[in-house]
């Protein structure tokens, strides 16, 4: 327990230094954040333009797609902010800087994640968050205590699921020197995939993102619950409340994967 607290304190200390460094040049920081808002916002602009010609996309209106978009965007945004730096792992293995982390009394994952902490990644969260708020206001959800809870829990679970994918992706880099691109396919690729209602995909994709890589729990199932809709694929309604289970399972797999990666590194050299 004290170990976890110490690790957390170390993470905060390292991140704080990078934040301070970033804020030294305010104008440049603001420009970077705005840049990220624009880049990540591009996806949403594309969706809006698409809706200029259609009323619904595979049975979902613009505000509903915006809800999906916002939930997955905030999820990956938080994960990217907290753990995005783990993509650097391949480089750290190659240049040996991982070794300097392994001789310090803080878990290497914490150090890799906190190093180069990029506050500019708030841009994605801000932009997706704005879309999410707009969607929630526009849809006119029938708010119950349960739905409020599901909304909050979903954001957390989405972040945990994407964090887990980031960690698994970087753990993979222990085996395959520079597999950052492979990892990106699952993180940013997963984000793009879940920006649309799953009804646009064949049922095999839906099964895959439910049982294989549980991306559907980032937004799809909880959104169905928030919208009070039946599952278009006839999946059990219980899945709509299963995001915490999926997140916990992913986190466990990620923890095992990371440990296996470190063990592999420490038993084979690099």
């Amino acid at each position: 327990m004290t170990g976890a607290l110490h690790a957390l304190a170390a993470y905060r200390a390292i991140a704080r230094v990078w934040i301070r460094a970033a804020l030294t040049y305010r104008a440049s920081f603001v420009a970077l954040v705005l840049g990220q808002v624009l880049v990540t916002g591009g996806d949403f602009v594309a969706i809006v333009l698409m809706f200029a010609g259609i009323d619904t996309l595979a049975g979902f209106g613009l505000p509903e797609v915006a809800l999906l978009y916002g939930l997955t965007g905030v999820g990956i945004g938080i994960a990217d902010l907290l753990l995005g730096s783990v993509e650097q792992l391949g480089r750290r293995v190659r240049d040996g800087s991982l070794d300097t982390m392994l001789v310090r009394p803080v878990p290497a994952l914490v150090q890799v994640a906190a190093d180069q902490f990029a506050l500019r990644r708030l841009g994605r969260i801000t932009q997706s968050g704005a879309v999410l708020v707009w969607a929630l206001v526009t849809i006119g959800i029938d708010w119950t205590l349960g739905r409020v809870a599901v909304l909050l829990v979903t954001v957390v679970c989405g972040a945990v699921i994407f964090c887990s994918i980031f960690v698994l992706g970087s753990a993979f880099q222990f085996l395959a020197g520079d597999a950052a691109e492979v990892s990106n396919a699952f993180t940013y690729g997963g984000n793009t995939l879940t920006q649309y209602p799953l009804t646009v995909y064949p049922v095999e994709v839906v099964r895959a993102v439910t049982f294989l890589l549980p991306l559907a729990f980032v937004n799809w199932y909880p959104a169905l619950y928030l919208l009070g809709r039946d599952d278009p694929f006839g999946m059990p309604a219980a899945l709509q409340l299963m995001s915490p289970v999926a997140a916990a399972a992913m986190a466990a797999v990620a923890a095992v994967g990371w440990r296996a990666g470190v063990r592999h590194y420490r038993s084979t050299g690099s």
């Binding site: 170390a10 230094v17 460094a21 070794d99 300097t100 392994l102 009394p105 420490r266 050299g269």
Partner: protein, 325 residues
């Protein structure tokens, strides 16, 4: 092996028959690959006492880095027993981390884009050092390593010598019992080297910090280490003091005499002339032989202008060691 014997309490490092094997995959055809076992460390046994300053020498690929990685817990030994500060390094890596300081000459333990001051502050958090203790240690190292003017400079802007001073301060701020340095003087100029060696000696005597350094620079060894471990092909080929290393068989001392004039090779008992160059002659002393009687005979029988006794070049001794192994 006597398992019941109480471990010597003063041993900071104990290695017994430590081995480390790597599987290296090589291309054997278009798709075929064969795995070759490489014994990077092949049965190392040694122990290092608290407060020692030990040099780990060996040619490239001899197993020095692998050894240091095992001692710090980064790499898991394939077999054998290893204890550092009473802990098994690979199993207790993060616990051990608080008690050791590591300087990898080729990579930085500092944050490249941050000023030294910030790096030190972060290390305080990472090692969980109480503020007061950290402040005192920092003040001391800043003074000893002359870092005062460098504290606000980003590490990337420091010269190599300046950075190395910063690295060493960083490795010592949590006041470890044991300091490993991997090629600490590589690329440094003469003045920086001398300064660093001075500092290491001082840390060792004043704080009792055990220092283990791997190096190619024999100057480091001569100025810093009282004991030398020579590793070749993953095995220990020598363990002893520098004078002992010099006296290894085959590495004789030489008496160089300048005579008043060109002369045929001198004849004295207990030494043989190996080279003549004008009035100067070189006489090899047998290993372990004393120079005194030879010098006395020379002085009595020949007109001497000057005389010097040369220790064998440590480089030569080590080269011979390697080729023998």
């Amino acid at each position: 092996m006597d398992e019941t014997a109480a471990p010597s309490t003063d041993a900071v490092i104990e290695a017994r028959d430590v081995r480390r094997t790597f599987l290296v995959r090589r291309r054997a055809g278009v798709l075929r690959r064969t795995a070759v076992e490489v014994h990077a460390v092949d049965g190392l046994s040694f122990s290092i006492e608290r407060g020692e300053m030990v040099g780990l020498l060996g040619p490239n690929g001899a197993g020095k880095s692998t050894t240091v990685k095992m001692l710090t817990g980064i790499l898991v030994p394939t077999s054998g027993r290893l204890r550092v500060a009473g802990l098994e390094p690979s199993a207790s890596r993060t616990t051990l981390a608080r008690r050791i300081g590591v300087v990898f000459g080729q990579r930085s333990g500092l944050w490249w884009d941050l000023p030294l001051r910030d790096s030190f502050a972060l290390l305080r958090r990472i090692y969980d050092v109480p503020v007061e203790q950290h402040r005192a240690a920092l003040a001391e190292f800043v003074e000893l390593l002359d870092l005062d003017d460098l504290l606000d400079v980003p590490v990337r802007s420091l010269s190599l010598g300046q950075r190395m001073r910063g690295e060493i301060a960083a490795a010592l701020l949590h006041e470890p019992d044991l300091l490993y340095l991997d090629e600490p003087t590589i690329g440094l100029d003469v003045v920086s080297k001398a300064r660093l060696r001075d500092f290491l000696r001082r840390v060792n005597t004043e704080r009792g910090t055990t220092v283990v350094l791997t190096t190619h620079d024999l100057g480091d060894v001569e100025h810093v280490c009282r004991r030398v471990l020579v590793v070749d092909h993953g095995r220990l080929v020598f363990d002893g003091s520098l004078p002992e290393l010099r006296r290894l068989d085959g590495s004789a001392r030489t008496v160089v005499v300048d005579l008043a004039d060109t002369a045929p090779p001198v004849e004295v008992e207990g030494a043989t002339v190996t080279r003549v160059d004008g009035p100067r002659q070189w006489l090899a002393l047998p290993p372990g032989g004393s120079a005194a009687p030879v010098v006395a005979q020379l002085a009595a029988s020949y007109p001497l202008v000057d005389l010097a006794i040369q220790e064998p070049e440590i480089e030569d001794v080590i080269t011979r060691l390697y080729s023998r192994g």
